[in-house]
Amino acid sequence: MSSSMALRDLQRDLESKANDLAKIQKDIAKDHQLRKKYTIQLGENELVLKELDLLEEEANVYKLIGPVLVKQDLAEANANVRKRIEYISAELKRVDASIHDNEGQQNSKREAMMKLQQRLQSIQAGKAKA
């Protein structure tokens, strides 16, 4: 019967939408993790910058590159840390935007799913009555 076909179509539609929704939610979760990581890094870098500012001119600054502790110039270290901070904030903003988009998509998909569900229910109710 056409109605059962329509029913099955609707159900398949619903499943695919549910899959999409799950994917989007996973993306959102990953983005959240990333965001957390970036936030922590940003905090750390800002701490480092604070300490570096407190250092006097000739103090030795070393950077750990792999197993090697390399002596660095204070000014150079300052510049590096600052650049890193900028980079991390930019990344953070990017991730935020992606989270936002994904959430929007998630909401729209959810609405579509609900509508589908309602249609499904009404059809089933109609069938039950008939």
């Binding site: 604070k50 570096l52 950077k63 502790l69 270290a77 840390v81």
Partner: protein
């Protein structure tokens, strides 16, 4: 007097917040609390380590070199010496190190400590919030389980309320009365009318004896409130009933202003007639809007009683000329016509 008919709803709490869900929510919140607590313990561990480090670094410069057992790999030690005891390589973060003296190291450590403490504080605040949430959910769950009912009633006037709140109730009642039903209350109104009028008459008598106090806000308001209270006893949740009582007030005020023996009586008579006829046909919204105007119109001299009667019909008769001539401060509502039904009392108070 008939018992006040309360419009209310009685709902078992279980229907509003299903017990299951409440418990689930409570457990979820508790989970979050546990996570936060773990986090806090971690941070506390850091703080302790930090303190130990500070004391160690402070001790180091006391000797030129310390004899220690140096760890060698994972499982061995060999005796050695710790030299240059004043210098420390401090880890700043992000793979950056720097040489510092012990004193400077201690400063760095202290700053780190402060950061940790602030983090702990915020965590604690979060935990407290979650706690309150959890307790609320738990309470709701237990209440729902016990079958506690949530009872909502429309706000009723009570006898013992003091005068200030009566005016408040006036506003609320009018607001709620607008939504109340008008149908089928004609008979009640007539009864109430009779009662209200008789009460008014009594008060008028008292008033005449007292020889009316023009411009005495206090006594006027007291009287008004007495009237309202008396009416309040008789009125049920019927918004109309109350509005009528409110509408009677301007009439009463008018009498206050004109302490003439016979006239108040007459006014009452004619006014009662008009009230009776206009009661059913009057719409609440218009009557409340008419209010301020009515207050103004009754300010007139005896001949104004005719205007008053006119004003009390179901029509909105705007006596704009009255507005200009009205100099009685206490009767003057604040300038513009209130767009929403404001109690006359409030209007007058201003």
């Amino acid at each position: 007097m008939e018992p006040p008919q309360t419009k209310g709803t009685v709902t078992p709490l279980a229907s509003l917040f299903s017990e299951q869900e409440a418990r689930k929510a409570a457990s979820y919140v508790e989970e979050r609390i546990r996570e936060k607590r773990e986090e806090m313990n971690r941070l506390q561990g850091f703080v302790d380590e930090n303190d130990n480090l500070i004391s160690l670094v402070k001790k180091l410069p006391e000797k030129l070199h310390h004899n220690i057992m140096v760890p060698f790999g994972k499982i061995a030690f060999f005796p050695g010496r710790l030299i240059h005891t004043n210098e420390c390589l401090v880890f700043l973060g992000e793979n950056y190190y720097t040489d510092r003296t012990s004193k400077q190291t201690v400063d760095v450590l202290r700053r780190r400590d402060k950061t940790l403490q602030s983090q702990i504080h915020s965590l604690k605040a979060e935990i407290d919030d979650f706690q309150t949430e959890a307790s609320f959910f738990a309470n709701t769950a237990s209440e729902a389980a016990e079958g506690v009912l949530e009872i909502r009633e429309e706000y009723e006037e009570e006898e013992e309320e003091d005068s200030g709140t009566v005016l408040q109730r006036g506003v609320e009642k009018e607001a709620s009365g607008v939504t109340g039903g008008e149908a089928g209350e004609g008979e009640d109104k007539d009864d109430e009318f009779a009662r209200i009028m008789s009460r008014l008459n009594e008060l008028e008598m008292e008033e005449e004896q007292e020889e009316g106090e023009d411009g005495d806000d206090g006594s006027v308001e007291e009287r008004e409130l007495d009237v309202v209270k008396g009416l309040g006893d008789k009125t049920d949740d019927n918004g109309i009933g109350y509005e009528e009582s409110v509408l009677e007030k301007p009439q009463y005020l008018q009498k206050e202003d004109q302490p003439r023996g016979g006239i108040p009586q007459q006014n009452a008579e004619t006014w009662r007639d008009f009230q009776a006829t206009s009661a059913v046909s009057r719409s609440k919204a218009s009557s409340s809007v008419v209010g301020p105007q009515k207050i103004e119109s009754p300010i007139q001299k005896p001949e104004a009683k005719f205007d008053t009667n006119k004003a009390f019909t179901g029509l909105i008769v705007e006596h704009t000329h009255n507005l200009e001539t009205n100099t009685h401060g206490k009767m003057q509502p604040s300038g513009s016509q209130p767009s929403k039904p404001v109690s006359r009392f409030k209007a007058q108070r201003r």
